[in-house]
Amino acid sequence: MSTDAHGNSKFLQHHYDTPAQQFGAAKLGMWLFLAQELLFFSGLFVAYGVYRSWYPDAWVVGSHLLDYRMGTANTCVLLLSSFTAVMAVRSAQTGNQKATGNFLLATIFLAGCFMVVKYFEYHHKFEVGYLPGQHFAPHGEGLVEIVAAARETGVNGVPFHLRTFFGLYFVMTGIHGLHVLVGMFVMGWMWNRNRKGEFSKRYSTPVEMTALYWHLVDIIWIFLFPLLYLID
């Protein structure tokens, strides 16, 4: 492919004929990747559904032990970050380099807030012994909370399968958190590319793809939050 009249050659890879073709391929590829991600998480959701239907007591108590205020705060933070991600795309498409950079930074910042809140949540659970599976050993304040939660929800005693609940809680939110970290990293990379002026009205595909990914991370949380925090 020789240099074309639009001066796009730098971003048009040699094996594509037109920028439209390249954009179409990138978009399809990204959607396939997202489909793949959804199926990856679907395994966890199925495991969640099965155990929840088998051990409703453990699930009710477990969900009571999660701090729904922190969960709500994080949901708002992520929703807001999806908005800033959209704005980053919008600015990139209109060729507003400065705004693109700032919206990317805002998104990274919000993602960081999410991780900080998650850190405090995890920290508390580690302290009181709400650990997954084999390591589940609530003590002190942790036990008191469980007994209170059980009384409130009308469950007798400490459900054995709380350990399964916390096993799944940590796996699901942990893998989701990993996706948040990856998103932060990719957005930092995009920020840097934007700073170097690689995006323009004609070419903003990478920013758009990154935003698509970020929305997926957001949507998964939108499912995780009610399933884990709000089910009783």
Partner: protein, 565 residues
């Protein structure tokens, strides 16, 4: 050429002379490791999977040798368990799954589409690197103690017992991503990279088959990934999702595992069928019968494949109703499989058939896959499966589909496209000798296992009752013949590489598009963008030049002679 056009070509860093070929255009190992050319990546995949196949084959021969006698023959029971695990895991994850799509598919798919490359060439190279990393983890598993869970990694044994299953689990997890990336790339390529005139109804059936495969790769593999991730976390941090002692459920693992691994058998067989389509049409010199039926049956198999996983768990404690539904759905799979067989036979009917080695492998595929598929129905029937489950009958069934089907399909494709990949011909007589040995050896090995299994010989056993010995010895004898067959084939191909006659662009006289490029394709596949004006099986529309089997020089003399006459 105008001055500007000429200047543009000189300015274009990607311009490559028309007579360049992909193997020699760039040289040195660095140019291979950093290439984004799908053909070179395909060749590197080919070498890698052949190495895996060799390793898996050695383990197989070790297994069959141990089974020559009841009790200890050459190793202890524990070692035997390790050997069959390594054999199965290497063959499935390192050989069969990447074999046709990643090696052969990578090479021919973009050429058939008239594209310069796949949609995401760098991702393609990344998938190869990921494959290598996964393979390294598998090797580490071998050195880190013993792994004897079988390729299925069933819990709780895999997480509780003292073994190195964790390494292999991580390896397979990584290999899964390589497979996902290949599938993703192929789907995007087929949708967006078709050359001018290549509409969906003109797609070669090989592409329909790999496309259907790619859909499964993208949608089923992530479920395996999460399953293995859970398994790894079970082992490392004791999450307990599959561990009954911690309130988990091992049967859930089986559901997850087979939700991937049944569709995965279609990842294995669909590409084999895809190759058979091309070969049957070429060697019958005939338009393939029922093009749309074959194309759609691939898609149907891909979709149905997602609904039958429970047939691996009839005796695992599934509900009675679930088993009945899974059994009924399993029978449905026979319909699209049958559609293909009938269409192939109808294509052969009144074709002008020539029996060169690729065709021999494809015909064998039809016969062997039919046996493999029909015995699947015995296993899908609830009452008979109770008797046959976990016996050698199952072993024979899946070897008839995986070896008789996929490996024969792969070999058919390897022989068929060998001249395009290497630019050289091979010795057809020796190819036929190898074929005969492989065909006979294979049938002797596995027919006897149907009998063994129906008489009650359980699978994965190191020792057996004396009454089974004659059949076990027969099976082992067949395996040695099979091994010799592969050895002959390897020598035959090595000789072709070293001193084979130079091939023309279309040695089989096929109407398929990929045969219209130079003998060893140009780095961009076609020196000039082709425009497709006929279907890939339209022998009546192909020109004499297109179907000419000799080299370009021979064509020139042919034309000159004709002009004289």
């Amino acid at each position: 050429m105008t001055v500007e056009a000429e200047a543009a070509i000189h300015a274009d860093p990607h311009h490559i002379p028309a007579d360049a070929d992909y193997l020699t255009y760039e040289r040195g190992w660095k140019s291979w490791l950093t290439t984004v050319d799908h053909k070179r990546i395909g060749v590197m995949y080919l070498i890698s999977i052949l190495l895996a196949f060799f390793a898996g084959g050695v383990f197989a021969l070790i297994l069959r040798t141990e089974l020559l006698t009841p009790g200890r023959t050459i190793m202890e029971a524990d070692t035997y368990n390790e050997m069959f695990t390594l054999h199965g895991a290497i063959m499935v994850f390192l050989f069969i799954i990447p074999s046709i799509p990643a090696a052969i598919g990578n090479f021919v798919l973009p050429i058939m589409l008239g594209a310069k490359d796949v949609a995401f060439p760098k991702l393609n190279l990344a998938s190869l690197y990921i494959y290598w990393v996964g393979a390294i983890f598998t090797l580490v598993a071998i050195t880190q103690g013993h792994i004897d869970t079988g390729w299925t990694f069933y819990t709780p044994y895999s997480t509780r017992a003292d073994n190195s299953a964790i390494w292999m689990t991580i390896g397979v997890f990584i290999l899964g991503f390589s497979s996902i990336l290949t599938g993703l790339n192929f789907i995007a390529t087929v949708h967006t990279m078709r050359g001018p005139g290549m509409h969906w109804r003109r797609l070669p059936l090989f592409i329909w088959g790999t496309y259907a495969t790619a859909v499964i790769q993208v949608l089923a593999t992530p479920v395996l990934a999460i399953t293995l991730a859970l398994l790894a976390m079970e082992k490392i941090v004791g999450v307990g999702v599959f561990d009954p002692a911690l309130g988990g459920d091992p049967v859930l693992f089986q559901h997850f595992f087979w939700f991937y691994s049944h569709p995965a058998v279609y990842i294995m067989i669909l590409p084999g069928m895809a190759i058979v389509n091309e070969v049957i049409a070429t060697f019958s010199r005939r338009k393939i019968f029922g093009y749309m039926f074959i194309a759609m049956s691939s898609v149907a198999l891909a979709l149905l494949g997602f609904l039958v996983w429970g047939h691996h768990m009839f005796v695992s404690g599934q509900s009675e109703y679930a088993t009945m539904v899974f059994s009924a759905l399993t029978f449905l799979v026979a319909i699209p499989s049958g559609v293909k067989i009938f269409n192939w036979l109808a294509t052969l009917y009144q074709g002008s058939i020539s029996l060169e080695s690729p065709m021999l492998y494809s015909l064998a595929f039809i016969a062997l896959f039919t046996i493999g598929g029909l015995t699947g129905l015995f296993l899908g029937t609830l009452s008979t499966d109770i008797h046959l489950h976990d016996t050698y009958f199952v072993v024979a069934h899946f070897h008839y589909v995986m070896v008789g089907g996929t490996v024969f399909g792969f070999l058919s494709g390897l022989h068929y496209w060998w001249p395009k990949i290497t630019g050289r011909l091979y010795d057809e007589r020796w190819a036929r000798v190898a074929f005969s040995l492989v065909f006979i050896g294979f049938n002797v090995t596995f027919l006897s296992q149907f009998v063994l299994g129906s008489r009650g010989m359980p699978r994965r056993y190191y020792s057996y009752l004396d009454q089974f010995q004659p059949l076990h010895m027969t099976s082992s004898g067949g395996a040695y013949v099979l091994g010799v067959g592969f050895l002959v084939m390897a020598v035959m191909f090595a000789k072709s590489l070293k001193s084979g006659e130079k091939a023309g662009r279309n040695p089989w006289g096929s109407a398929g598009y990929e045969w219209q490029t130079s003998p060893r394709p140009h780095p961009h596949n076609f020196a000039e963008q082709p425009v497709f004006t006929r279907g890939p099986y339209d022998y009546h529309l192909a020109s004499e030049r297109e179907l000419f089997t000799g080299t370009d020089a021979e064509w020139d003399t042919h034309v000159a002679k004709k002009a004289e006459a």
